[in-house]
C-alpha cells in the first residue's frame, strides 16, 4: 500500500542510496512493533488456549490428577453419545429461532417502518425494537423465565382468553422448552436485524422503487424485485451474526433452563461448561469445544461467500 517511497534520482551518490534502503528496512521491521502488543495478548489468551483445547481433546483428565491418553474416544463420543449429539442438534434448531425468524420479521418490520413518515412513532418504533439488543443476555433469560413461569404473563394471557387448560410451566415442559427458549432468541435478535435492514433499505436508490411502481409492481413484487436484492449485504451480515449466536448460545440457556428439563434444551456451550466445571470431564469438554469452533466456521463460510460482491 503506502510503502515509503524510495525512488531516488539516478544521479544520487551510491552511499546515500544505501543509507536510505537501510533505513527503509529498519522501518519495515519496526512495523512489527505496531502489531506486537495486539498479537501477543491474542496469542497468549486465545491462540494458545485453542491449541491446548486440541491437545486436551485427546486425553482423559479430571482437571487435577494425571491425564491419560484417550485416542479418539472423546471425538467419537460426540457422534455416538446421544446427549452430546442432541446438544449439537439443538444448536441447529436454534438457528430457526435466532436467525430465520428474526431476519424474516426484521425484513417485515423494516419495510413497515420505511413506509412510515419520519416522526415520533417512527423513532419510538426503532428505539423500542432495539432495546433488547442492548441488555445483557442474562437479563433476557431472567425476564423470560418469569414470563414463562406458571404465574407468568404467558399463562395469564392464555387464561384470559379461555385457553387456561394449556397453561403450564413452559421451560419445564419436555416438548415446549426448546421452542420457548428459541422465542427468547427472536426477542434478542429482532431489533438488531430490523435496524440493520432499515439502514440497508435507506441505501437503496429510490428511483428503483419508482421504476417498479411505474411498471405496476404490487407491494410484494416490489419487495422481491427491489428490496430483497438491494439488501444482500445486510442479509449476509445479519445471518452470519445471528447464526454464530445460535450455534454458540450460552447465557440465555444457562440462566433459563441450564439445558433442562432432561437434556431438552442442552446446547454445546452449556454442555462444555457442565462437562468441565461440574463433571470434571475436561477431555470430553475440549473435544466438544474444538468441534463447536470448527462447526461455526463451517456453517459461516458458505454464508460469507454469498456476501462477496459479484
Amino acid at each position: 500500500m503506502a510503502a515509503p517511497r524510495i525512488t531516488p534520482p539516478v544521479t544520487r551518490p551510491q552511499a546515500a542510496r544505501g543509507r536510505r534502503v537501510h533505513r527503509a528496512r529498519a522501518r519495515r521491521w519496526s512495523a512489527l512493533l505496531w502489531v506486537a502488543p495486539a498479537f501477543l495478548v491474542y496469542a497468549v489468551f486465545v491462540l494458545y488456549p485453542i491449541l491446548q483445547s486440541v491437545q486436551y481433546s485427546f486425553y482423559n483428565w479430571d482437571g487435577i490428577g494425571p491425564a491419560t491418553p484417550a485416542g479418539l474416544s472423546n471425538w467419537k463420543a460426540i457422534f455416538t453419545q446421544p446427549e452430546l449429539l442432541h446438544s449439537v442438534e439443538h444448536a441447529f434448531v436454534l438457528i430457526i429461532f435466532y436467525t430465520v425468524l428474526p431476519v424474516g420479521l426484521g425484513l417485515v418490520a423494516a419495510t413497515l417502518i420505511r413506509e412510515l413518515k419520519p416522526g415520533p412513532f417512527n423513532t419510538t418504533a426503532r428505539v423500542v425494537l432495539f432495546i433488547p439488543q442492548v441488555l445483557p443476555l442474562v437479563a433476557a433469560g431472567i425476564a423470560w423465565s418469569w414470563m414463562y413461569s406458571s404465574g407468568g404473563l404467558v399463562n395469564q394471557v392464555l387464561r384470559a382468553v379461555g385457553l387456561g387448560s394449556h397453561a403450564r410451566a413452559w421451560l419445564g415442559d419436555f416438548s415446549f422448552a426448546l421452542p420457548a427458549v428459541g422465542v427468547i432468541g427472536i426477542w434478542v435478535m429482532l431489533g438488531f436485524c430490523t435496524v440493520l435492514m432499515l439502514a440497508g433499505i435507506g441505501n437503496i436508490d429510490p428511483s428503483l422503487y419508482e421504476a417498479a411502481r411505474i411498471d405496476g409492481a404490487g407491494r410484494f413484487r416490489e419487495f422481491l424485485a427491489v428490496t430483497f436484492p438491494g439488501l444482500r449485504q445486510e442479509l449476509v451480515v445479519c445471518t452470519t451474526f445471528t447464526t454464530i449466536a445460535a450455534l454458540a448460545s450460552f447465557d440465555v440457556i444457562q440462566i433459563s433452563t441450564q439445558g433442562g428439563p432432561g437434556y431438552q434444551t442442552m446446547v454445546p456451550g452449556v454442555e462444555i461448561y457442565r462437562l468441565t466445571f461440574l463433571q470434571q470431564h475436561v477431555g470430553q469438554a475440549s473435544a466438544l469445544a474444538v468441534f463447536l469452533a470448527a462447526l461455526v466456521l463451517l456453517v459461516i463460510w458458505p454464508i460469507q461467500q454469498l456476501g462477496r460482491p459479484r
Binding site: 495478548v41 494458545y48 432495539f130 442492548v134 445483557p136 474444538v290 461455526v296
Partner: protein, 276 residues
C-alpha cells in the same frame, strides 16, 4: 374511492403489525416492572399494576445485590478492557493497512480465525491457565482474556477503516519530515475518531454484558461485570420474584439509560460495524 379505503386499510394493518412487534419487545420488561412493585415475598401476577406499589423494593434490592460494589467493579473492568483494546487494535490495524509489516498477511489471517470463535471453545484451558498465573478470582482474570478475545474484531474493524485512509496526507506529512509514528499520531488517529469511538461503544457493551468469563473465573460477585453479578443475583434470589425483578431492573438501568440518551450513536456504531 376503493384505492382510498385500501390505503387506509393498509395503513391500519401496518400500524397494528408494528405495534404488535413493539409490544413483544417491551412486554417482558413491563412485566418485570409491575412484579418488582408487588408485596415483598409475594408471587405477583404476570402483568398487573399492584394496588399498593411497593417502591421500597428497589431500595431493598439495591442493598441485597450490593449494587454500588457491582457497578464499581464493572466500571473498573471496562476501564481495564476498553481503552487498552481499542489502542492496541488501532495501532495494529493501522500497521496492517498502511505499513509493510513482515509476515503481516499471516498475522492478519491468524487474527481473523478468532473472529468467529465462541468464547466457550477456550473457556476450559483458559480456566487452568488463569489458575496457574495465580489470577483466579481477580478482575484481571476477566480483563486479560477479554482483551485477547475482543482483539480480532478490533483489528479487523480498524484495518478496514485505515485501508481507505488518504495516502496523499501520508506523503505530504513525510515531505514535511514527519516520521511514521508522527504521521499516524497527528494525522490518521484524529481522522479515525469516528471509527475508534464507535469501536469503544461496542466494546463497552461487550464488556458490560459479559457473562461467561466472570461466571467461570471469578466467584465473588462484587468483582464481576454487571452481567456476571446479575447471574449471581439470580442464583441467590431466583425464587423471590419480587426482589429478583427489582434487582434486575436496577442492574440493567445504567446501560438502558445510556442507550436511550445516546441511541442515535449506539445504532450508528452497531451499523458501521455490521457493514464492514
Amino acid at each position: 374511492m376503493s384505492t382510498a379505503t385500501s390505503t387506509a386499510g393498509r395503513r391500519i394493518s401496518r400500524s397494528v403489525t408494528l405495534l404488535a412487534l413493539m409490544l413483544f419487545a417491551i412486554v417482558p420488561l413491563l412485566s418485570m416492572f409491575t412484579s418488582a412493585l408487588g408485596a415483598p415475598g409475594s408471587t405477583p401476577q404476570g402483568l398487573s399494576w399492584p394496588t399498593h406499589p411497593h417502591w421500597h423494593n428497589f431500595v431493598d434490592a439495591w442493598t441485597a445485590a450490593n449494587l454500588l460494589a457491582l457497578f464499581r467493579s464493572s466500571v473498573l473492568i471496562v476501564l481495564g478492557v476498553v481503552p487498552a483494546t481499542v489502542a492496541m487494535a488501532t495501532v495494529a490495524g493501522y500497521a496492517l493497512a498502511q505499513l509493510e509489516v513482515p509476515g503481516g498477511k499471516a498475522i492478519y489471517i491468524l487474527l481473523l480465525a478468532g473472529l468467529t470463535l465462541p468464547f466457550e471453545a477456550i473457556i476450559t484451558p483458559l480456566y487452568y491457565d488463569i489458575q496457574s498465573m495465580g489470577l483466579l478470582g481477580s478482575r484481571l482474570a476477566i480483563i486479560l482474556p477479554l482483551i485477547g478475545l475482543l482483539m480480532p474484531f478490533g483489528v479487523f474493524w480498524m484495518r478496514a477503516h485505515f485501508l481507505n485512509a488518504e495516502t496523499a496526507l501520508t506523503e505530504a506529512a513525510q515531505i514535511d519530515g514527519a516520521n511514521t509514528w508522527q504521521t499516524f499520531r497527528r494525522i490518521h488517529l484524529p481522522l479515525a475518531a469516528p471509527a475508534w469511538s464507535a469501536l469503544s461503544v461496542l466494546f463497552f457493551l461487550a464488556t458490560w454484558n459479559q457473562y461467561l468469563l466472570p461466571l467461570v473465573l471469578v466467584n465473588d460477585p462484587t468483582k464481576r461485570t454487571v452481567a456476571g453479578g446479575l447471574g449471581a443475583f439470580q442464583g441467590q434470589y431466583g425464587t423471590n420474584i419480587v426482589l429478583l425483578s427489582a434487582g434486575s431492573l436496577l442492574i440493567i438501568a445504567p446501560a438502558l439509560l445510556i442507550f436511550l440518551i445516546l441511541q442515535r450513536n449506539f445504532v450508528k456504531a452497531l451499523l458501521q460495524g455490521a457493514i464492514k
